[in-house]
Amino acid sequence: MGRKLLLEHINVPGINTLEVYRQKGGYRAVEKALKTLTPDDVVEEVKKSGLRGRGGAGFPTGMKWSFLAKPEGVPRYLVCNGDESEPGTFKDRYLMTHIPHALIEGMIVSSYALGANTSYIYLRGEMMPQIRILERAIEEAKAAGWLGKNILGTGYDLELYVQPGGGAYICGEETALLESLEGKRGNPRIKPPFPAIAGLYGCPTVVNNVESIAAVVPIINDGGDEYAKIGIGRSTGTKLISASGNLVRPGVYEIELGVPVEEFIYSDEYCGGIANGKRLKATVAGGSSVPILPANLTLKYANGEPRLMSYESLSEGGFATGTMLGSGGFIAFDEDQCIVRNTWNFSRFYHHESCGQCSPCREGTGWMEKILHKLEHGHGTMEDIDLLWDVQRKIEGNTICPLGDAAAWPVASAIRHFRDEFEWHVKEPMKSQSTNYGLANYANPIEKASEEVKS
C-alpha cells in the first residue's frame, strides 16, 4: 500500500465536519505554522519538500512563492484555482466535496506564508454543491477561531472567500481567472507582468491549484524533508489521479509518484485492469490536453524500460514518444474505442472553450473540429489529415495562453501515433461508421525505436 497523505481519512464518517477533522489531527499545521514558524520558514519547508504544482504545469510551488513581490503597503493575495474543468480530471472536486477542511487548512497556512490577509477560492460555476460545502466549512472554521481576526492569538488576520466563476475552462488559466475574479471578461492577460508582480487588482498574487494548497498541510505537519522522501527524483510526494475510461475501478486514487504505469492500471490496489476483459489500446495520462499515447508507449519507453507515474517519466521521450503528467486526469481506452472520434470530441471541447481573444486559437480550434468531424463521419480525404497536422502546427506556440497548445497537442499526438486509424477512416468510409479499427498493433512491443520517432 502506498502512503496516503491527502486521502488518509477520506472514509471516516463525518470527516467533512470540523469536529471529526480535528479529531483526526486537522488544523495541526495551522497551529504549528502560526505559533512556531515564521512565514519565510513555511516557504522554506515547501521549497525543501520539492512540491510541484498539481494543476498541470508542474512548476515548483516553493519557487513560485519565493517569486512573489513584497512591496510595502500593498496587499498580497493568495488565490486558489478550483476551476477544474479539464476533461478527465475530477480530483479537486472529490477533495473539496469530502474533506473541505483540508483545503481551508492549506489556505490558512499558505496565506500566512505569503503574508496575504485576504484569500480567495475561485470555483467553477458548475460546482454549486462544492461551493455550499466550502462555505459551510469556512463558517465552521470561523466560528472556531481558525479564520478572521487575530487567529490563535498570534495577531494574524485572514478572511477567506469562495467565488463561483461562470463555468469557463479558460478561467482555469491563472490570469484569466484573475480577470474573472475582478469581475471582468475572463480573457487571459498578456504576460509579463506575471501575477507574482501584478496580479489581482494589480497587486502581487499567487495562484495555486486546490491539490497543491492541500498538500502544504502534510508538508508542514511532517516537515519538507519527510515529504521529499516520498516519490521519485524531482517528482516528490503523492498525487491524486482521477482515473476514468474503460477501467474496472475508475475513480480518484492517491499514488506515491513513481508507481509504474502498468501497476497503476492493472493492480488491484488501483484501477484493477481494463473493464470486461478487454485489452488496452491507448491512454491519455494527464487530462485531455496532454498527448495521447498508444498502449505500448504508455507502459514502456521507446527503449523498452517501464514507464512510471511521475513528471519526468511520463514526459520521457519528449512529444515524439512521451506525454505529460498534467493535472492527473488518467483516461484509458480499450480496444473498441475510436481514436478519431475521441480526438474530434476533445477538439470540440477546445473549440467551445476558446476565449476568442487571439486569432490562431479562436479560428484554428473551430477549423480543427470541423476537419475532424468530417474525418470521423467518413467524408475525409488524405489531404485533410495533412491539413489538420498543418493547422495544429500553426496554433501551437503562437497563442497568448496555453489553451492553444492544449488544443493542438491531442490532435498532433493522435495523428503522430494513430495515423493508420485516420487513414482507415478515409479508405473505408462506410465501414468506419459501423465498426471500429480495433487494437491493430498499438499494444505490440516496440521493435525499433527509430521507427516511432518520425516527427
Binding site: 476565449c355 476568442g356 486569432s359 479562436r362 479560428e363 477549423w367 498543418d390 500553426k394
Partner: protein, 336 residues
Amino acid sequence: MSDLVKVTIDGITVEVEPGTTILNAARQIGGEIVPPAMCYYSKLKGSGGKCRTCIVKVSKGSEKDPRPMPKLVASCRTTVMDGMEVLNITSPEVLEARAGVVEILLINHPLDCPVCDQAGECDLQNLGYEHGLQKTRYEFERRTFDRIDIGDKIQLHMNRCILCYRCVFTADQITDKRVHGILNRGDHSEISTYIQNAVDNDFSGNVIDVCPVGALTDKTFRFKNRVWFTKPVDAHRNCSHEKCNGKVTLWYKGDDVLRVTARKDQFGEVEEFICNECRFDKKKTADWTLEHPTHIADTSVISSNHYETFKPLPVIKENLALQEANQRELEKTFKI
C-alpha cells in the same frame, strides 16, 4: 547616453529607451523589417497581443541572459532588453508562422473586397496579398452575422471583424462611455452593443478609423466611391470641441468632399482623434482651410499620383541575409 538599450532587429542595431517594445523599436528603424500589426495601436493603452501577426523570433534574449526565447513572441507586447537580437523577415520560421496567422484570420473573413469600403486601405487586404495563399484551404461554412446599425452614422459588419479589440479600447479611452463590447466567446464572439443600443457620443466616429478591416464603416461614405479614386488632402478648421483640434484629411472626388477622416501616420495609425462634428457634418470645402495633398506611401493603391522609388536603408548593403529577405518583401510589393 548610457540608459538607452541596444537591440538588433534583422541585423540592424538601434538604441531605444528602456521599456520600448520590439515593434516600436522596429518602427524607429523603419522599412520592411517593421512587423505588421493588426490589433496593436500605439495610441491605445493595453492594445495588442491578440492578432499574432507581429510575431517575431528572439534569437538572443539579452546581454545578461543570452538564451533565445522558446516561442515566437508578439513584438507589440514584448519589451526590448539590452543586447537583444530579434529576427523578423530574415527568419523563415517567422514568415511561415505569420502566413499561418494570416490564413487563419482569413478563414472566417468574407472575401467581399470588391464591395467593401475599406478596400484599398485595409490592413488585412495588404497582409493577405503579402503573406496569403492564392486560395483558401478552408472548405466549411463561414460564420455569418446580420449587419447592424450602431447609431445613425456607423454600420457594423460583423462578418468582416477580426476581433482586434481596438474599437473597444477606443471607446474606453477616447469617449465618455463605452456602450459596445465583445459578447460570447471563441469563434462566436462578436462586437455588439447591449440590445442594439446606439453608439452615440462626440468621439464615437473614431472607431471607424481604428478598425483595421471593413467591420466598422462610415454610413455617410458607404458605397459612395472607391478610396483609390478619391484624392486625400490635409486640412484643418477651428473646432469648438475642447478635445478636438480639427486636423483632418479630406477625401475629394472632383469638387466634393466624400468623407473626412483623422490624419494617419505611415503605420496607418491616427495621429489625433477627431470629433464627430468634424467627421460627419463638415463636408464642404468652405468649412476647411486646406493645407496640402496628404502624403501616401508609394506601396498603397491610393498613391497613384505619388512617385517615389524604393530606397533601401544603407545598412542593408552589408547584410546578405537581410538583402535576400528584402528582395522577397519587395517582390511581394510588386505583386500588389
